[in-house]
Amino acid sequence: MKLLVPVSREKRTLLGVAFFVVFVALWGLITWSGAVPKHFLASPWQTVQSAWDLFATQGFTHDVGMTIWRVVGGFLLAAVIAVPLGIAMGTYKPIEAFFEPFVSFARYLPASAFIPLLILWVGIGEAQKLTVIFIGCFFQLTLMITMIVSATRRDLIEAAYTLGCQDTAAIRRVVLPGAAPEIAEALRQVLGLGWTYIIVAELIGASSGIGHMITDSQALMATDNIIAGIVIIGLVGLISDLAFKKVNQRLFAWSLQR
């Protein structure tokens, strides 16, 4: 191993898969050897069986679908407001000075702590779940986009001015395309953040969703179902992350290192 020397594509995939194998093997070993009782930690095989059972007989597809819709819905709502706001804050410093202190403060408010309030305000329906995700994503995203847009190279803006651009054209033709790859990357990261909020959002007052299934399983001591739920969240998150990454690479080929 040499410092910072990249590895080949095949090797990278191989190494990445290898750790999953090691992880599952250790997990299997711990449960198979009886070091941990079954009702505390289900074995990998048992987890796979329950996952199959969940999908085949308990209508779990609907739960997964509901959870995905909540995460994506709350995330999109956050993005629709955070992206333009972040761009405005990044380009116009007075706007930044106005919003930035509050957004920085709000970013540290734990989204899950709002759940009791949100139940009072918007009830226990879908609106509550979407709002939790929204709160969890929005402030973070706004600050990230502000920072990205603030880092726009001044000399590129000046070049655009000397080529005949006015302010709005400079934003449209320089600020936006320049910041787009990093904004897309920020969206990808914040979507991942959204996933970490969904379970708490579904713990209370949900009649569907992966989180709802997990809470139900807790009452039944069904650790195999809980683990299956967790793994499925991980898988869905991983798939959405990879898809996002692929789209970003497609759209912003120019920004990749050559």
Partner: protein, 260 residues
């Protein structure tokens, strides 16, 4: 009539901190640049020569004085003054051709016209075959050639260059000077070129303007009368040497003043 008139233009930068005095970057200077003139502005680093160019470009506003382009005062940056910066300012998300067409698109020129103009300037700066490359795929010298083409494609009244070859290695730099001079000899453009390199200043200029150490002011103006087209061999002629010796003295005194 002169194309560009700089009349008693001075620039003071506020310090931004209490107790720290403002910086006078440029003492009021006056300079006339005629149509199709090639002026090089020579001075030690930090003498305010870039400030002067940025004032003409409209990227800074003068603290005093007026700048007139074809008799009209300038009030901000605009497409009538093309600028080539020292840093590489090609838009990284656009190809060579798209970069050159950037200003043309802003003028809502038709695609066919854009193509025709970009074609011409791509050929002029010797970048045929690189039309669809991204800036990252080009060397520093090639990037600056695209930047020159991009500025020229807009057909500006004056071309402003702020040490455009400063970051290039010596060999590339010399070739770039010849390229730019060749373009000027063909196209006849009014050019203001900022540099701290004496050879560069003499080789391309029809007039060298020497600036003093900060706060900058114009210390001397020397006409350069070598005939055109000039080739690099002029650099070894006795007249060139004599001019260089004289400018070396002028600049040396200023560099020392700036250092003390």
């Amino acid at each position: 009539m002169s194309r560009l008139s700089i009349r008693n233009v001075g620039k003071i930068f506020p310090s931004g901190r209490r107790g720290v005095p403002p910086t006078e970057a440029l003492k009021p200077v006056s300079l006339e640049i005629g149509d199709n003139d090639f002026i090089t502005v020579l001075g030690p680093s930090g003498c305010g020569k870039s400030t002067l160019l940025r004032l003409v470009a409209g990227l800074e506003t003068p603290t005093s004085g007026d700048i007139l382009l074809d008799g009209a005062p300038i009030s901000g940056p605009g497409a009538d003054r093309g600028v080539v910066f020292q840093s590489y300012t090609l838009f990284p998300w656009l190809t060579v051709r798209e970069n050159i067409c950037f200003g043309l698109r802003e003028k809502n020129m038709s695609a066919a016209q854009q193509r025709e103009i970009s074609e011409r300037f791509i050929a002029q700066v010797g970048l045929r075959g690189f039309e669809n490359h991204y800036p990252k795929q080009l060397s520093g010298g090639m990037q600056q050639r695209v930047a020159i083409a991009r500025a020229l494609a807009n057909d500006p009244k004056i071309l402003l260059l702020d040490e455009p070859f400063g970051a290039l290695d010596n060999q590339t730099r010399v070739l770039m000077q010849e390229l730019l001079l060749g373009i000027w000899e063909q196209a006849q453009k009014t050019v203001m070129f900022i540099t701290h390199d004496i050879d560069e200043a003499i080789f391309m200029a029809s007039r060298v303007v020497v600036m003093s150490a900060r706060p900058g002011r114009i210390k001397a103006e020397l006409p350069v009368d070598f005939p055109h087209p000039r080739s690099y061999t002029v650099k070894t002629s006795p007249e060139f040497m004599a001019l260089k010796a004289r400018l070396t003295e002028e600049i040396r005194a200023e560099a020392m003043a700036a250092d003390h």
